[in-house]
């Protein structure tokens, strides 16, 4: 059987959290069920699995690359054309700071944009089962299963938790 998704729609956040508990206790694989909301609820409000993310690595990596390039650019040009000005050393850090700061920031921003594309899983080309009432305040608990008995079990968990409607993909 092909994978099938179900979504249970809840009016109350507590009921959606009960459904998430049901899937957790029912031995469903982490990552096979998720909660969809129209507004961000506090992290862990539904008892959902909080996966590790790598988003902070992207700006840090970009900033390091930008800073390194800036050091090469400013130091390289000053060494290539050595002009002593006002008795200051050829490699004067204060004269290099502006370009170093600017390139660090820019590379950090660009890397953050790239990182977000990876980490947000956007564009989401196959969003799966969805209901537009989620943007009106309903909470969706979506689960993906790969056999018939699991479909019935998942439906039961959703209904038991108080879903006002269960939709199949």
């Amino acid at each position: 059987m092909a994978k099938q998704s179900l979504i249970g729609l809840f009016e109350k956040a507590d009921s959606a959290a009960d459904a998430m508990d049901g899937f957790n206790n029912g031995g469903y694989e982490l990552g096979s069920f998720d909660v969809l909301t129209g507004t961000p609820y506090p992290e862990g409000a539904f008892g959902e699995h909080v996966p590790q993310h790598r988003l902070f690595r992207f700006p840090a990596f970009g900033a390091i690359v930008g800073f390194t390039l800036a050091v090469f650019l400013t130091a390289g040009t000053q060494i290539a054309y050595p002009l002593v000005t006002g008795g200051k050393p050829i490699l004067s850090i204060f004269a290099m700071l502006i370009i170093m700061y600017e390139m660090t920031m820019l590379a950090g921003v660009i890397a953050t944009v790239v990182g977000i594309i990876f980490e947000s899983r956007l564009p989401n080309l196959a969003p799966g089962v969805y209901d537009k009432r989620i943007t009106e305040g309903l909470i969706g608990v979506v689960v993906t299963v790969d056999n018939d008995s699991k479909v019935k079990d998942a439906q039961k968990i959703l209904e038991k938790a108080g879903a006002i409607e269960v939709k199949h993909s």
Partner: protein
């Protein structure tokens, strides 16, 4: 959980705002994208015409005055004004969010929208960049932050930095707008629906999407602040200080940045007042937002005099030849009346207006202070940049200014450029209100989710959750 007592209504104070159901929020805010379409279309056409006239005037001015930088002070002042106001506004939605303030949630969208004004700044600054003298003319190098760098360093790096600011602002705006594009995809029709579908990139509101949204708002917000202060520093030093021989002032770049924040808060207050009234959003924009913003505005107004005086006292007490020249050029010289009027509008009048609790704690009071500040900021920018650019190119390499230039009055091209430039900046702000709600749907929903009006002993208050 923290308890915020915002009400003692039996003493004449306001009641806490009631929570609005989620579906009503979505419906009301999406409706704003079609509200008053005809009138907005008319205003957009007018702004477009003025923008085109302004750009034509700028091109004509370039060909007419490309050999005389002293006539470009009004263009420099306009760009400084737009950079200050449009660049400072997004900070209103960044700083309080980082400090987990709940009141700011209905304000974040309108403040982020002002990052769109950066596009017009990027266009308008091109001819001004071409007019900015290179660091070395006739073998003589003027004092600048670029030391012995290539002579076109300010031209290249200032533009790159400005692009970085605009890119970060747009990334911040778009990141925070993704969930609302998804709402447009589900609840609007026609081209708005199609655009929402394209721009929402398949957003469905999974836990992972919300987590990354929170993080990217935090990261872009931090980057935006770091780049904004840097761009203010570059613009203030390269387009004002380095144009005047002997103007050495460590405080001026910060003065430019702090007045940018002041102008940013002022434009957000003014916009909030207009959209509340025009789109009938009284349910979502409460007195709390105006109250909190006007406190910020008041604090920034007091900072104006702190920064101005800190710089002024050094020159006044120094009494060296270049100190005297600085005072004569920027304070008592050709634009003394502009300085005095500007100081009245940006400091004295809003100070004595916003000092009153009753004014701050109202919807209609802060807008008056905001308008006064915007007028004052524009006059202050005229005073600074017109006088700085009035120094002839052949004098900017000298040790200090020996002859104070005459007052440069605007000609008809300058006036058209100023009107057109301001129109060009505000046109995308107006147009975007047709594409996406001017208040963020998900942030207003979150505002309601985390704040509940409660009865607290013998009064009322708002219980605010801060779980993150």
């Amino acid at each position: 959980m923290s308890k915020t007592d915002t009400n003692t209504h039996n003493k004449g104070h306001h009641l806490p705002p009631k929570n609005v159901p989620f579906n009503e929020i979505t419906k009301d805010l999406i409706a704003t994208t079609v509200t008053g379409s005809k009138k907005i279309k008319q205003i957009s056409i007018l702004l477009s015409i003025l923008s085109i006239i302004g750009i034509i005037a700028l091109i004509v001015k370039y060909f007419a005055d490309h050999d005389d930088s002293t006539k470009w002070g009004y263009v420099a002042a306009l760009i400084s004004f737009l950079l200050s106001v449009g660049g400072g506004a997004p900070m209103v939605g960044i700083a309080p969010v980082l400090a987990k303030a709940n009141w700011v949630r209905p304000v974040t969208r309108i403040s982020a929208i002002f990052s769109l004004t950066g596009v017009s700044t990027l266009i308008l600054i091109i001819p001004l960049m071409m007019m900015l003298p290179p660091l070395m003319v006739d073998g003589v190098r003027r004092r600048s932050i670029w030391f012995e760098g290539p002579i076109y360093s300010p031209h290249v790096w200032d533009y790159v930095a400005l692009m970085g600011l605009v890119l970060t602002g747009l990334a911040l705006f778009y990141s925070a707008a993704l969930p609302d594009f998804a709402a447009m995809r589900e609840h609007s029709s026609g081209w708005r629906k199609n655009l929402g579908k394209t721009l929402s990139r398949g957003w469905i509101g999974t836990d992972s999407q919300w987590r990354t949204l929170r993080m990217r708002i935090g990261m872009f917000g931090t980057f935006y602040f770091l780049i904004l202060i840097f761009v203010n520093f570059l613009f203030a030093t390269d387009f004002a200080m380095s144009m005047v021989p002997g103007w050495r002032d460590a405080i001026f770049p910060m003065y430019h940045a702090i007045t940018s924040l002041q102008g940013g808060v002022a434009i957000v207050v003014a916009s909030l007042w207009i959209i509340r009234k025009y789109f009938k959003l009284e349910k979502y924009i409460h007195v709390d937002q105006f109250w909190s913003l006007s406190r910020l505005l008041f604090a920034l107004t007091l900072l104006w005099i702190y920064f101005f005086y800190s710089a002024f006292i050094v020159f006044w007490y120094g009494r060296s030849a270049n100190d005297i020249a600085w005072i004569e050029l920027l304070i008592t010289g050709p634009m003394m009346w502009v300085f005095l009027t500007g100081a009245f509008f940006i400091w004295i009048a809003p100070w004595w207006w916003l000092i009153w609790n009753k004014v701050r704690r109202s919807v209609n009071g802060p807008i008056i202070g905001a308008i006064l500040i915007l007028i004052g900021l524009f006059l202050d920018r005229l005073r600074l940049f017109v006088t700085a650019w009035s120094v002839p190119t052949e004098s900017i390499h000298e040790k200090y200014l020996k002859i104070i230039p005459e007052l440069v009055l605007p000609n008809y091209l300058d006036i058209l450029i100023i009107i057109g430039g301001i129109s060009l900046a505000f046109l995308p702000v107006l147009l975007i209100s047709r594409v996406i709600p001017v208040l963020s749907i998900w942030e207003v929903q979150q505002f309601n989710l985390l704040a509940k009006p409660i009865k607290y002993m013998k009064t009322h208050g708002v219980l605010v959750a801060k779980p993150d």
